[in-house]
Amino acid sequence: MRIPCPLCGTRDRREFWYRGAAVDLERPAPDAGVEAWDDFVYLRENPAGPTRELWYHEGGCGAWLVVERDTVTHEIGRVALASEERS
């Protein structure tokens, strides 16, 4: 698996650390309540197919990336800087 970092170009999977589903982009408010926080911290869509994830380019530029990837084929789609994906 190789990930095209928008800053560094296409790099080996070993340069990246995997954070998980890209839920961190929409963090609930501190007082959002137990259900919202359970949903955010623990519950996952966990799709078999296209998914949106956060990867950290620790062996490269140090950027957080939003990676679209297929969990069945390992095919990598669009990759963007997390700082620009935040709503």
Binding site: D12, Y18, G20, A21, Y42, R44, N46
Partner: protein
């Protein structure tokens, strides 16, 4: 058909013409008391114990592929009860005791071999941690022996004891740990359940779960609708998809774990051995292949294969620990999908839907749990109460923060275990 030494001899002398299929291949009925989704180790053992312990035999196991085609036939077959935390400790102890009577009980040779398991340690701190774990195992009534380097050497002469970075200080020895033939475990439970009247229905994928007024009414499948009073989801590796049919989101991420086997060799590794630095563990199969594995690939995946960095990491750890392994040729490798839970421990519980049960989150270690998990899930389905040895595996422990079972002390978050 009962298996016995005499029978094997007789069949051997008469061309093996007397063997019959081990289970029926029925069409589904329209109605069952209990439907179990998933014909892996856990689903089959649940059906078996429902029939054996609770007299509930109007049961169907629905399997989308063939029996034993999932992780139960893809694992590295290690069976042990060396857990530390309450919640896990009594459960795996219970499961190991069931293993010890399993072949008699099933009249089936599952090749359970208690060859002993040794977890190596490589520092004073790690020795202390293992001594503490060993005491917890003894307190649970299981067996553990703390071995120093000099006691270990004659047992495992092939190890690289003096590696500069990770010298071997000793090991925690669990004599009752070992391995079993994974397919045979699935087949033995299948046959046992079938003989007690359970319908094992293959090529039958569950595509919907029918819920009315907050209670489960049955399932939709590729072989038609089936009504049921109770339904259990026991679909390791597909738990999130099946739970979604009931409108649930689970605290599960699916990851790929790879394993490897070498060409057949003469007996050289007598135990199950695990490296304490870098994840690597190994045993030798009865056919002579060295069976080994290590960590997850560490990204969500439903591909039953991994990537090369995962392979490299495991091979490096193996070479560091036992350089002799470099002479063996790898015959094949494969991957399986693991239900990873945030604290690394499983879930066996009721759900928000009446009559719907969930069994998932087995992480790396669900093979050794096959007897225990089926036994306690059958208890929960039949009686409505948790078995005394499985009170901790609650679905809501993450939401409430009460009763997290973080065996490795890594924290309760996805992607840490």
């Amino acid at each position: 058909m009962r298996f016995s030494g005499l029978r094997v001899l007789k069949e051997g002398l008469t061309g093996n013409r007397g063997w019959t299929p081990h289970w029926r291949d029925p069409d589904p009925n329209s109605d069952y008391d209990v439907v179990i989704i998933g014909g892996g180790g856990h689903g089959l053992s649940t059906a078996y114990y429902l029939a054996r312990d609770h007299g509930i035999t109007n049961v169907a196991v629905l399997e989308k592929g063939y029996l034993g085609g999932g992780n139960v036939g893809r694992n590295t077959t290690i069976v042990r009860a060396n857990y530390f935390l309450p919640g896990n400790s009594e459960f795996y102890s219970h499961s190991l005791k069931l293993w010890e009577g399993l072949e008699e009980d099933l009249n089936y040779n599952v090749m359970h071999s208690q060859r002993g398991l040794i977890n190596l340690f490589h520092s004073d701190g790690q020795r202390d941690a293992f001594a503490r774990r060993g005491n917890a195992m003894l307190a649970q009534g299981d067996d553990a022996v703390l071995l120093g380097r000099d006691e270990l050497r004659p047992m495992l002469p092939y190890l690289n004891f003096d590696d500069l970075r990770f010298p071997i200080y000793g090991g925690l020895y669990h004599p009752r740990g070992g391995t079993a033939r994974h397919d045979a475990v699935a087949w033995g439970y299948a046959r046992g359940a079938d003989r007690r009247g359970v319908d094992l229905i293959q090529n039958c994928e569950v595509t919907g779960i029918d819920i009315e007024g907050g209670a489960v009414k049955g399932v939709q499948t590729t072989r038609g609708a089936i009504r049921a009073k109770k339904v259990a989801m026991v679909v390791a590796g597909r738990s999130s998809q099946v739970a979604a049919l009931a409108g649930m989101r689970l605290p599960i991420e699916s990851h790929v774990l790879q394993a490897y086997v070498t060409e057949g060799l003469k007996p050289c590794i007598d135990h199950v051995v695990s490296f304490g630095m870098g994840h690597f563990y190994i045993s030798q199969s009865d056919k002579g292949g060295l069976v080994f594995g290590g960590d997850l690939d560490f990204y969500a995946s439903y591909a039953a294969r991994g990537n090369l960095p995962g392979v490299e990491q495991v091979m490096e750890a193996g070479m560091a620990l036992m350089p002799m392994i470099g002479k063996a040729r790898v015959l094949r490798s494969w991957g399986g999908i693991m239900d990873m839970s945030p604290d690394g421990s499983p879930i066996i519980d009721k759900t928000h839907v009446d009559g719907l049960f969930v069994n998932c989150g087995w992480n790396y270690g669900g093979f050794k749990a096959v007897p225990g998990s089926g036994n306690v899930l059958a208890h929960l389905i039949a009686t409505g109460t948790h078995h005394q040895n499985a009170t901790g595996f609650r679905l809501d422990r993450f939401r409430t923060g009460r009763g997290i079972i973080d065996e490795e002390g890594k924290g309760s978050q996805h992607n840490l275990h």
